[in-house]
Subunit: 600 residues, 2 copies
Amino acid sequence: MTAAPSPRDLDFLLYEVLHADALTSRARFHDYSREAFDQVIATTRGLAADHFAPHRKANDEHEPSYVDGKVVIVPEVGAAVRALAETGFIAATHDAEVGGLQLPHIIATAAMFHLEAANVGTAAYALLATGVANLVAAFGNDDQKRRYLLPLFEGRFLGTMALSEPDAGSSLADVRVKATPLDDGRFALTGTKMWISGGDHELSENIVHMVLGRIEGAPAGVKGISLFIVPKRRVNEAGESGDLNGVQLGGLIHKLGWRGTVNTVLNFGEREACIGELVGQPHHGLQYMFHMMNEARIGVGRAGAAMGYEAYLYSLQYARERHQGRLSGEKNPAAPQVSIMQHPDVRRMLLSQKATVEAALHLILACAQLVDEQETADDDAARRRATLLLEVLTPVAKAWPSEACQESISNAMQVLGGYGYAREYPIEQLWRDNRINPIHEGTNGIQALDLLGRKVRLENGAAFSALIETMGASVAAAKAAGFAAAELAVPVAAAVERFSATTIALGKAATNMEPVRALANASAYLDLASRTIVAWLWLQQATTASLALSAASADDALFYAGKLQAARYWMSWELPRTVQLAELLVRMDGVPFEMQDAWF
Amino acid sequence: MTAAPSPRDLDFLLYEVLHADALTSRARFHDYSREAFDQVIATTRGLAADHFAPHRKANDEHEPSYVDGKVVIVPEVGAAVRALAETGFIAATHDAEVGGLQLPHIIATAAMFHLEAANVGTAAYALLATGVANLVAAFGNDDQKRRYLLPLFEGRFLGTMALSEPDAGSSLADVRVKATPLDDGRFALTGTKMWISGGDHELSENIVHMVLGRIEGAPAGVKGISLFIVPKRRVNEAGESGDLNGVQLGGLIHKLGWRGTVNTVLNFGEREACIGELVGQPHHGLQYMFHMMNEARIGVGRAGAAMGYEAYLYSLQYARERHQGRLSGEKNPAAPQVSIMQHPDVRRMLLSQKATVEAALHLILACAQLVDEQETADDDAARRRATLLLEVLTPVAKAWPSEACQESISNAMQVLGGYGYAREYPIEQLWRDNRINPIHEGTNGIQALDLLGRKVRLENGAAFSALIETMGASVAAAKAAGFAAAELAVPVAAAVERFSATTIALGKAATNMEPVRALANASAYLDLASRTIVAWLWLQQATTASLALSAASADDALFYAGKLQAARYWMSWELPRTVQLAELLVRMDGVPFEMQDAWF
């Protein structure tokens, strides 16, 4: 059984490229050492192999169903979530004083990656509990923290993010769930939420729904949305679960993939009263949610990267073991068949996967590191810089892995041929499971609008400038390193210049234009940005590999050679597409924009 | 309910672009008129809507299963196949004298497209019967034709193509099923076949397996493979089905999609004797199969195009009806939500689909027309030219629609958002169903090797020259047409030149090189060829639209405007990628080729 990520690659990224061990010198992480980080990762790797991977297929074949008034889920899911909760991992990055492990985000991310690669459907229940705990910890009052945090950390309560409604998916401004104030300061909720992952089940004593709703009389649009804690069972002063709270299961949604996580329609206050507690201030709900959105969006990218990585390792092993055909030019039909790894086109599909998934993991770890920088860097300037970089990188970290890993998993399937299409093999499930990632937490089209319409303009372009500056520093470091890194720096330098010039040209053009026109090609811009950012990541990896190669062991030398080849692949096969994208963007190509409904 | 293709588009392609009605002047089609062609198409459109589309989902949810010794399939499948057989459509292109409809291939293709768009899983049973009948008609002896053709035409017998084995999928040279000569001239078969579509069921009185096997003592490799007729039940002199013939169901394969067509492992002669009849000469089996392969491969492209087209129409309708969000720049949160068609990125995804699926249908029809030309053109030169063009276009007609329509269906899913991911909506099934098309009938990697390694070199490059010449004629016609067509001719002319120069450069380089190295980037070459060929198709459509626009009705003017915009989309968004591909190919990029197993 394969299990992503490859330990050698994870070590390389965490410690040789990103120097995560340096965090141990900071006060918050003083109790940790690199060995302790590795121990956390080893624990989740073991959990992934023992408790998550074994039921990935069962979780898909026997998706949650509604039987006799209850949602039935294969029992291994509950066991896995409990095993994970016992390690304290639901509170991985929370403060020790409230029961957390106080881990750096980069280490928690590396650990979580194993669980999602093994079984994303089961991992999601734990992730949602962490997400709810994050919101309560950040915006809840002391009473709410006291009653909800510990049960969430312990996995006794699980949770959901209840944002979407049947007519308010991409457009959260149109949320309609209604909250009527009660005398005791709480609210009676009515209305319907849809697409709610983890919305009903018997895995935990209670389910804490974080619900976006509108207090009666609130203004229209995003400025009238409030955030409520709505437990499935009412929670008393002592933090104990009691009677049902009027959250009615309206139905299960049957998905293409990611079936292990139950997906629901929920009706609030339909038959019995549904009581919610306001979180923070009225009308600030979307703002609170968005405060968590960077992490949620990077989480989507992480899930995509994890599934892509898992498929890559499986197809790699298959290509080494499967013998089929002979090389072009072999005239002897009785010659033995070769391993399909020997066929250049199979090698291309494997190298393309490697170049994708290893960069995706790098991107996700780099973003997690920026969260750590934002929270714990020594000086204000460094913290601010981390915030800016994180803002501009988040839409890319959400969209690129979700989309590129879809293609990557498709390549894994192609390597397996007919076996890849058979449900007896694991690739087809990964291919289905990941396909939600370009859709949820803001479609990739919305990420593109966020990047071009908001992030590159943020603080007068300060976020974008910080990114270009950081990329420039990597180019300089690669040139200084010499060898292969210096060669690879040349196309990256050109691409960064192209990215920068295109962005400036678009900014100028936008000043004279309707926003809807100025943003019409945002998806092409996101593609340009993504390919350039991935080139920058590969340049960093190549620089590290170049510098380490001369003193490397025989095994490490092979590993570094692979890194350099993957970097070369990116520069020669994937990066050049930015030339075409830049041309299209700079001339403000209007072909799709000018297409009319009546012409279809 | 949508039903691909759009009738207006089909009319345009068949009659305005390809002038299929001109075929009625040929002796073979003398009994037909355009009205009669349209009647055939209308009949299959009706069958598709009434008998095929309604159980597409049932066919997927209740996939064939093995119960009490029999393969159980939802009853609607048998009813649909019988309804189709009653129209005579299984023998659509066969001679009237043997019971066929003697239709042109282009019309049969247009008709079949509707059935595959509606329900590919059910349509496949009929297609396989046609394929078996084609082989028997072309290579069987008179006795075999007498006993097998009519029952196949009537749908009383269905059939399979039994080529692959567990260790011989892409490498048919390694087929191992053994044929031992019997005294009466027949053969006893033993061995196992895998991935056999339609391999066992109760839909018909008998199943005729066309089996590739090796006569005892035959040479190794492709020159030792023979073709056998192996019925499920023995067929006597009178053509009646009798006792079982030792074809044992070894198991069902559970697929990602296309589940309606049962997929099987078959064991021959395991428990009881399995008797086969040799077709044609010994050791010529693969040659006979490959004679049919062009049609089978174009059939794969047709299925992909049909599913892509169906998904396009569905997402188009959805985008018109679904209201969500407001345009960038709208400041009033109380303004009504707009139809998502109004969002430029949604329009881009729809236009991209239109540019893909309408070109895919055009390509498939054009190939079918070449089959008609090959068989019925007035002079030898025209027939030879059609054969050459068909040879070089076939790998593209197989690979490009299968792959581009996968992305196109993914765009349809993205337009639907979460609804696209839900099994309650039809897109996710189409996305799963099509994913086999890049794999079966020779993976797309094998198509690339076929194109670059064989087809462009065919008869000293005559096929390739014919293609370049034909493209040149289209460019000249577009320039002469003026207006938009003349503008669009400019990038196409450049692309054709690039395609030609790249091909010549690769041919020169190959003379000094190991074949495996010379063909290492064949997939990139296939991509270059496909994008160029699709540009050529769009130029033809644009030329027709340009010329027709001035005298068009109001409705037609909108239709032609859409055609021109789709052509512009292809030229500005998809064709420019050939620049990068040509660079990569001409410099014989060696990055994937040089990647080593130990570096992964």
